[in-house]
């Protein structure tokens, strides 16, 4: 689509279906990584910043964003650190991930934010950092509004 022809308010919109992990509906700006995330030893629970040494998102925060990531790795403190991030007001608004594990399931549950997985297409291929993403977990729908680039 050519920029000159597109109406200014008609950004590209994509709808994907998936499975609810934690119910609810929330929207926000996406922060996307292809690296799996560690909880304990991987994030700063006070401000939601990724701290792992060789991580793509090192120094960036997921606070109030829609976190799109492959899944969890590392310590069993995963849920406890996302739990504390919530208590500190530093948790993501919603989560979308690919690979189900006990770490990420429990972490999503205690974050109390809508979370989805098993999207019909790989969210890491479709969602880019800065896109606006609505996660309607109750209805199993993710709505992506591409950022104009």
């Amino acid at each position: 689509m050519s920029d000159t022809l597109a109406p200014t308010n008609d950004a590209a919109r994509i709808v994907l279906r998936g499975r609810k992990v934690v119910g609810g509906c929330a929207e926000g700006e996406a922060i996307v990584t292809r690296d799996t995330i560690s909880g304990w030893g991987g994030i700063n629970e006070r401000d939601g910043t990724v701290i792992e040494r060789r991580h793509e998102l090192r120094g960036q925060s997921f606070k109030d964003k829609v976190l799109v990531f492959p899944g969890a790795k590392g310590s069993s403190g995963w849920s406890a650190y996302f739990h504390m991030a919530r208590l500190n007001g530093a948790s993501p608004r919603a989560m979308i991930f690919n690979k189900m594990t006990t770490k990420v399931a429990l972490g999503a549950v205690v974050t109390h934010a809508p979370a989805m997985t098993e999207l019909e297409r790989d969210p890491l291929q479709i969602i880019e950092t800065g896109d606006w993403v609505k996660v309607d977990a109750d209805n199993g729908i993710v709505e992506i509004t591409k950022r104009r680039r």
């Binding site: 799996t36 590392g74 310590s75 995963w78 739990h83 189900m100 006990t102």
Partner: protein
Amino acid sequence: MKLTDYEQAMYDGVHGRAKARAMDLLVRYGEALSAERLVATNNVAGAFNASTPSVRELVKKGFDAVYSELNLDSKEVVEVPRMAANTCQLITGIDNANWRVQGIPDDLAEQQKRGEEFFGSRGINMFATCTPYQVGNVPVKGEHCAWMESSAVVYCNSVLGARTNTEGKESTGAAALTGRIPYWGYHIAENRRGTHRVEIDIDVDDIMDWGLLGYYLGEIIDDEIPVLTGRYRQPNLIKLKHFGAAAASSGGVEMYHIPDITPEARSIEEAFGGNRVRDTVRYGEAERRAAYDNLNCATDRNVDFVMLGCPHNSIDQVWLIASLLDGRKISANTQLWVHTPRALRDVADRNGYTRMIMDAGGFVMSDTCPAISRHMPKGTRVVATDSAKQAHYLPAITGVSAWFGSVKDCVEAAISGRWEGGLQ
């Protein structure tokens, strides 16, 4: 998720508010996983302590409030009854005897002791170690467990053949009160079979070798199930403790097979159990070098702090360190902390190993480690350790740079204050 009559009754509050809140968490968690049901467990290893500054405010409301929020994800504060399952405490943030050496404020140490009294009286065994399997909790093959601590989980599944997923603070809190955990993942036999074949082209023998192999595999294999083949020597508890901890740090390995050694793999065929081999990973000199380079992020050879005992040292490792230090003094510019479970510390005291290490200028610590406590000797910029796990996490958590090497390299660094280690 299907619940039995007894589980439904707990959920409905027939057996008290604490079990009702615990069931609520287990149901939310089980549904997140798409688990069909729960499974009975009588072996829980979790984190119930209250030793971090961030829980100070919560502690003011009492330990029922701490357990309700942090171990049950419950806004409602419930009275914590005795644990329904056999339950132990994993590693904590504070050494109950050496908190001043750690630089922990007295009030936090006091808070942890009061917490231990409370949780202890509910039946939580205060092992206070990341290695419960070294001090009396050794599950048998097939036993359903609910364990936290990634290095203990991978040991439990792979070396012991017991069955656990990597649980968290909230799920172990709920399991301890109900004796239930979602029947999912590694509780199910067909999910325990190998997925990746690892061909080892070089001799893997000492502790450092096993740590490097684990660190390399974790990064490549993530949370799949490697089956080792090729040139490794017979390992022991210490080597597999380091191997698993490393693989669970760079990646999420929760299970592996070593044919003819680990209990669910009498052969390579049995290890895969009919699974298609998804990928084959070669491990040779170049891969070993890559793991080593990734772990060694330090450039300054002046070492401020030497950390030994992650996962917590066995008594044989404490003896080795004591022997290497015997009659020598560590550098005035370097501190040395040796970590071992409290139960083994008692043995080290009786044997005189603690005295040997202290005479050289080091400390023997229990209950904690620097990565968990976020406390190191004041002013530490460069740390040396024999643990791939600690070398992976300490720079991220505390901003120090790290050298990784053999126990001997680390002890020599403590004595000279200089890192002279390297790959042989």
